[in-house]
């Protein structure tokens, strides 16, 4: 029950199948890394889980703590405890981080309950300190004019504030220099615990030096082609994904390719 479980998922967009029979179970308390070459469908998986309207699910199911979430609107899934740190976060001009997060936190309160402003700011500042973010950030518009690294840090700030049950982190390491990477990893590690399950999407092993995963999965051509422990990441680092390209050939290219 206490897991995010994906069974035989098939997803297509514009008549092209991107996820091709993917199964994965992430229990609460564990971190699962998904590694794979560009274009293997990692971001697609992240968006499908969180309800992006562009993708067509043709088969399979996704259960969150036993509940089928595929019929729920994106915001309903979010409020039930599913979070995505985007690979490419959107800018929201004119809306400050403080106001945006406040609306998001408020959206999780029972109806009629007002968010206590002082508690909110206390928590916000605490999480910002954890991520070594300057206070002035709160009055900047969400992601507008942010550097790549600032955007990623802002995603993790939101993760920390919203305390989901399951989080998908999509290439949170890309665009970060080594110092920023350490700070972000420290932030994620501090959230680690029995109440959070994480899918960590990356295609470099570098991040996994700082956030040690419980399991590593290799994703190629819309499928998990191999799973193992954290040492699998090192092996990938050494050998690359080439050996799996043959696996890919065995799977067979989609007809139109």
């Amino acid at each position: 029950m206490n897991k995010l479980s994906i069974t035989n998922l098939r997803v297509s967009i514009a008549d092209q199948e991107i996820i091709r029979g993917l199964s994965l179970a992430v229990p609460k308390g564990e971190i699962h890394a998904i590694m794979g070459p560009n274009g293997s469908g990692k971001s697609t998986l992240a968006k499908v889980l969180t309800g992006h309207p562009d993708y067509k699910i043709t088969a399979g199911e996704v259960l969150m703590d036993g509940e089928n979430i595929l019929a729920l609107a994106p915001d309903e899934r979010a409020r039930k405890g599913l979070f995505l740190a985007f690979q490419y976060p959107s800018e929201i001009p004119g809306v400050t981080i403080a106001n945006f997060l406040r609306a998001a936190v408020q959206a999780r309160l029972p109806e009629g309950e007002e968010l206590e402003a002082t508690d909110y700011y206390a928590k916000l500042y605490e999480k910002m300190d954890l991520l070594e973010m300057d206070r002035s950030f709160t009055s900047r518009s969400v992601n507008e004019g942010f550097s790549g690294g600032e955007k990623k840090r802002n995603e993790i700030l939101q993760l920390a504030m919203l305390q989901p049950k399951y989080a998908v982190l999509d290439e949170t390491d890309s665009g970060l220099d080594i110092d920023a990477l350490k700070v972000v990893a420290h932030g994620v590690n501090s959230l680690r615990g029995p109440n959070l399950g994480v899918i960590l999407i990356t295609h470099y092993q570098r991040l996994l030096d700082y956030i040690i995963p419980d399991h590593v999965h290799v994703m190629v051509q819309g499928r998990i082609v191999r799973s193992g422990g954290k040492e699998l990441a090192l092996e990938l680092e050494e050998k690359g994904y080439e050996s799996y390209e043959t696996v890919k050939d065995e799977i067979g290219e989609p007809a139109m390719a």
Binding site: H52, D75, A78, F86, S90, P93, V95, A104, A107, L162
Partner: protein, 469 residues
């Protein structure tokens, strides 16, 4: 998918209710000279007013529909199907207790008596053709401020009223100003004596309750030398299937050094044609500022203007227009510089949702002989989904070299990705849209008095709730 009914969804229709009509005075359907006499008789007009109306009626009949700045949708107005005067009496009450129950309940539902207690210096509440309630706080009245209906103004204060009435906006300015001049009823007359700074706003609330009806209030505000005033109007009507017409004329006069701020937060239902002429004159060192928020209506055509008549006069129009599905907001500003060192500022923000259409039309006129005049115009449009439409027609005529104008325009989209991003954080689609809209208007709304920015935010939320259905 289970859809929650949020309290907002119910509240969204805050203006959408109507009580049965109980009018004792009804001019009937259609407009003839007889209608004018009916209105003049009931209102016991002085002869000069009756004559003014009859002349205006002729002008109205002879003038073609505006074509230059008009939309084809204007043709949907059938003047013969409209009722031009409806009231339960001509005397507004000074006390809410004396207002008939249904009408009182209407304004209570709209929150007017509560706002009056909280932060207003005075209130006038108009129901169809006449004000049913009009009151000014004692302390403000004692400063010599006059705040009455237009009928009382023209009868009891003719020496001030006649001097300015119809002077800022002549009858023949356009077909709808002529119509208003023929059948006007209700609206405010305000006079602020020299040096008096009215601390809290005066407010008028215009409520249409009847179907097939036209509301034609007439407002004249004069701020004498060095005085200051903020005036606020709000409007609502129930949703009817037939077209309702709202055609007001508002004239403002700011004498030397005066500051006059006029705020509109309009929330008409989608069957209302809102065709309003608004203009102010700013004398030396005076300032006229229009804050104009147009939400709702089927078609709004409104271009508040300022004639800067004295040196160093300032004119400003800050406007927000929100065009929902099936609505057309055709708004803008007119700035006429008529003295040296005059400054005008126009900031217009429009939001189009669904098939909603927003048009900005601006006119800035700085003649050749003037020196050191400045205009700044900024028009920003936000489109929420691709079928929305926005047009900008700035007309800037600046002659002479000692003057400067600055014009900026932008169009932006709320993308599906932005909405998804916000939904992923737990906000509903409506909340996501209203947050984007609030972000878009934020820097402008920050310049509004607090109470109105709160009200506006709420209206935007309600409108978004409605637009995602």
């Amino acid at each position: 998918m289970v859809k929650e009914v949020s309290p907002l969804e119910i509240e969204r229709n805050v203006g959408n209710f109507a009580y049965p009509e109980t009018h004792t005075h009804d001019a009937g359907v259609g407009l003839t000279e007889k209608t004018i006499h009916y209105i003049s008789d009931i209102k016991d007009d002085p002869d000069w007013v009756r004559e003014f109306r009859l002349n205006a009626y002729k002008t109205f009949m002879s003038k073609p529909m505006p074509t230059h700045w008009a939309s084809k949708d204007l043709e949907a107005i059938v003047f013969d199907n409209i009722r031009y005067y409806l009231s339960g009496g001509t005397q507004p009450k000074r006390n809410w207790e004396d207002v008939p129950d249904d009408v009182k309940r209407t304004f209570e539902r709209l929150g007017i008596p509560e706002q009056e207690r909280k932060f207003l210096a005075g209130v006038e509440a108009q129901f169809d053709s006449e004000a049913v309630y009009s009151n000014i706080k004692k302390a403000v009245g004692e400063q010599g401020v006059i705040f009455v209906g237009s009928a009382e103004g023209l009868k009891n204060h003719p020496e001030i009223f006649r001097k300015w009435f119809g002077k800022v906006i002549p009858t023949g300015d356009n077909k709808f100003s002529a119509l208003n001049s023929a059948v006007f009823s209700g609206g405010s007359f305000i006079y602020v004596p020299p040096g008096v700074k009215v601390k809290h706003p005066l407010q008028a609330y215009f409520r249409i309750n009847a179907e097939n009806f036209g509301q034609f209030e007439r407002t004249l505000i004069i701020c004498d030398e060095g005085s200051e005033l903020t005036y606020m109007e709000g409007c609502t009507a129930p949703k009817f299937n037939t077209a309702t017409l709202h055609s007001a004329v508002v004239e403002l006069v700011a004498m030397k050094g005066a500051k006059l701020q006029y705020i509109t937060v309009q929330n008409w239902s989608a069957n209302v044609f809102n065709l309003v002429t608004k203009r102010g004159i700013a004398h030396e060192d005076a300032e006229v500022k229009w804050i104009d928020c147009n939400i709702g209506s089927r078609l709004t055509m409104k271009y508040p203007g300022v004639i800067m008549k004295g040196r160093r006069a300032r004119g400003e129009v800050l406007s927000i227009a929100l065009a929902g599905d099936g609505q057309h907001q055709d708004t803008g500003a007119k700035m006429v510089h008529a003295a040296d060192e005059t400054t005008s500022n126009i900031i217009s923000k429009s939001i189009s949702i669904g098939k909603g259409r927003a048009t900005y039309r601006g006119l800035v006129h700085i003649p050749k002989h003037l020196k050191n005049c400045k205009n700044n115009t900024e028009c920003d449009a936000l489109l929420i989904n691709s079928t929305s439409r926005t047009d900008t027609y700035p007309a800037i005529t600046v002659r002479g070299t000692g003057n400067s104008v600055q014009h900026e325009a932008s169009v932006s989209q709320v993308s599906a990705e932005q909405i998804f991003y916000m939904q992923q954080r737990g906000l509903t689609e409506a909340q996501a849209m209203s947050l984007s809209v609030n972000g878009f208007v934020n820097d402008l709304v920050r310049q509004f008095p607090m109470e109105y920015s709160v009200e506006l935010k709420r209206l935007i939320e309600l409108e978004m709730e409605g637009s995602v259905g």
